[in-house]
């Protein structure tokens, strides 16, 4: 029997327990009340400690020093497409240190998915490892735009090869760790809310989240939620087609995310000098008092160009929301579906044109009763990071906006836009409501939409209300 002051309990909380001891400690943890709470405390503290060290500037080598290393080791003559990689690629994880690829030939792919992908870019001049964000879709790692285009010829180096088919979860994790720099070192993107845990902590809470398809932001895989900058609107046309044909829409055919994005919203213009504006509204959830809704609207600047001018293109756009596990116990993107992943392949994901905007919504379960010992007044609940190539200079830039809990509004106080988007989201949730995981109803959706028409210049919002009524009618017959 261990007591609360046993270093092994600390080791367990930090995933450092020896396998031989794990079983016996688990018995104690499950039998003694208070131990699992204590473990949570230690894990929170671990996050806070990482954050504390993150206060320090990211000291590193000077450019001159790095160049000297490159020169002395011949590292400037590094890999390019087609190079034969060494048999044992060196990874920093003992179990995968000898990951072998079938061909061991570096292959720079341009067509996205299901291929071996070589990553990591080295800008010799700037000598920065560029952050390559990945789109995570369920279990699959989808990587677009494998290597960042460099101004320095062939300054690319393959460090690791990923073959999606043979990827174990652990392997995937290692890869993502590198990509998004979990060590907070490879790129200038430390996690804002402490280092995530590698694995979920098995608990009632987790079981609840999983049952409801919510994600737990305390873990590595779920800390960041990536969303596509370029969401199509095909589902809107599809919905119109189905309704006109008198067919009941299904969640397979309709992607809620696309539906939400088919409507116009009046997001603020970006501030002078900014490429994007990010509007967020954080409100109570009309169909579930225990949840919140986070509505994020991103708008690209609009120059009000004349006909002859070329459209401004913002390239390499990667967007991600980081959720603060100290404040949020679970989140669920509304409209993430298999359908959307298919479109991912077809669309040019990373480009946004001027005047375009993107809307994403999340259902959120707040962390209600967690008492943080070291920090009990943290106000930030999430932050949105947009990485992009500057439309003029092409330079990679990053922009961050944060959402704090002081922004939470009652649903009634929120804007017409958010309330309308919520009604569309509610409609989508009803369509995909196989396990009765939402309490949204058609009546509620209609009420929300009717109260959120706004100016409705193009009549789309009113049209949507008609469709909801028809869907409700079809549903009754069924």
């Amino acid at each position: 029997m261990i007591n609360q002051d046993d270093p092994r309990l600390t080791a367990y909380a930090l995933n450092e327990i020896d396998e031989s001891e794990e079983a016996s400690i688990l018995v104690d943890i499950n039998n003694v009340s208070g131990y699992s709470a204590h473990i949570d405390v230690i894990r929170d503290e671990a996050c806070l400690l990482s954050e504390a060290f993150d206060l320090e500037p990211n000291y590193g080598l000077t450019e001159e020093q790095k160049n000297k290393i490159f020169k002395e080791t011949g590292l400037l003559a590094v890999t390019k497409s087609g190079d034969v990689l060494p048999d044992n690629l060196m990874l920093f994880d003992k179990e995968y240190s000898k990951y072998k690829n079938t061909s061991n030939v570096a292959e720079i792919v341009n067509n996205g998915i299901n291929k071996k992908a070589v990553f990591t870019s080295l800008v010799a001049a700037a000598a920065v490892i560029v952050l390559t964000m990945v789109l995570l879709n369920r279990q699959n790692v989808i990587q677009h735009e494998v290597s960042h285009k460099l101004s320095v010829n062939e300054a690319l180096l393959s460090v690791e090869i990923i073959d999606e088919k043979s990827q174990s979860p652990k392997k995937k994790e290692m890869w993502i760790r590198r990509q998004i720099a979990a060590n907070s070192v490879a790129a200038d993107h430390p996690f804002r809310y402490g280092k995530p845990l590698i694995n979920s902590v098995e608990s009632d809470k987790l079981a609840f989240l999983q049952r409801n398809k919510f994600k737990d932001p305390s873990t590595f895989d779920n800390r960041l939620s990536f969303f596509s900058p370029n969401i199509g609107t095909q589902s809107y046309e599809e919905l119109r087609r189905l309704i006109l044909a008198g067919k009941m829409p299904t969640s397979e055919g309709i992607n809620v995310c696309e539906l939400i994005n088919a409507f116009d919203y009046n997001y603020n213009e970006p501030k002078t000098g900014d490429v994007f504006s990010v509007s967020t509204e954080f409100t109570s959830c009309p169909w579930d008092p225990e949840r919140l809704l986070l509505c994020i609207g991103v708008r690209v600047l609009d120059r009000g160009k004349s006909q002859s001018e070329e459209m401004l293109r913002v390239s390499n756009v990667k967007m991600a929301v980081e959720f603060n596990p100290a404040r949020i116990s679970g989140y669920r993107p509304i409209g993430e579906s298999e359908a959307s992943s298919k479109h991912f392949e077809e669309l040019d994901q990373n480009i946004l044109l001027e005047g375009q905007s993107v809307t994403v919504m999340y259902e959120i379960i707040p962390e209600a009763n967690k008492e943080l010992k070291l920090s009990n007044k943290k106000s930030e609940v999430a932050s949105i990071r947009i990485n992009y190539g500057d439309p003029i200079s092409g330079e990679l830039r990053s922009m961050l906006s944060s959402v704090s809990d002081s922004n939470i509004k009652s649903f009634e106080e929120s804007s017409d836009d958010t309330r309308f988007a919520a009604s569309v989201a509610g409609y989508g949730l009803i369509l995909e409501n196989k396990n009765h995981s939402t309490k949204a109803t058609y009546d509620l959706v209609l009420e929300l939409a009717n109260n959120a028409l706004g100016k409705d210049k193009n009549g789309k919002r009113s049209e949507f209300i008609d469709w909801v009524m028809q869907t409700r009618a079809m549903n009754k017959i069924k």
Partner: protein, 183 residues
Amino acid sequence: MSSSPRNIDPSAVLLRAAMSDFEIPLTKYAVSILGDLEEARDVVQETFLKLYKQDPNRVGLKVKAWLFTVCRNRCYDVLKKNNRISNLEEDQVSEIPSKDKDPVEIIKFFEGRDAINKNIKILYSLIEELPARQKEVMRLKFQADLTYKEIAEALDISISNVGFIVHSALKNLREAMNDKFND
């Protein structure tokens, strides 16, 4: 795809990956020992160059522990050479107060960052007050993200000793934080 593939040097791959993953944590660690950024950078540069000369098959599996061990030893060489310490046992070495930048100064650097929680800043200052060995282990664990095993290798102590130090340091910090807030 190129028609004539070249073989690339495994040592280069190892070094490249090590630099991308550990440049910053190593430099921060060296700064914490030396208290001087320029010296720390030199040590880290030497460490990487030394890595390139190692047999990648031998080092590859435990490159992280290797880097921190070599970096740490180099730091103490520098301290000794500069007569900042002389003929001391290593454990005593750790007790020499480093000329670490004043934590308050570092925090000021970030004053503009809106979301930095006040408590995190306090926590940072409390880490600075820990005994030297605890401070070092906490940094390796929570800043450089080393495992207990890697820390044990880097500091040449046992894994259970690492576990004990982490545990004690956490307890100290918890108590110190409670004291701060119950005043």
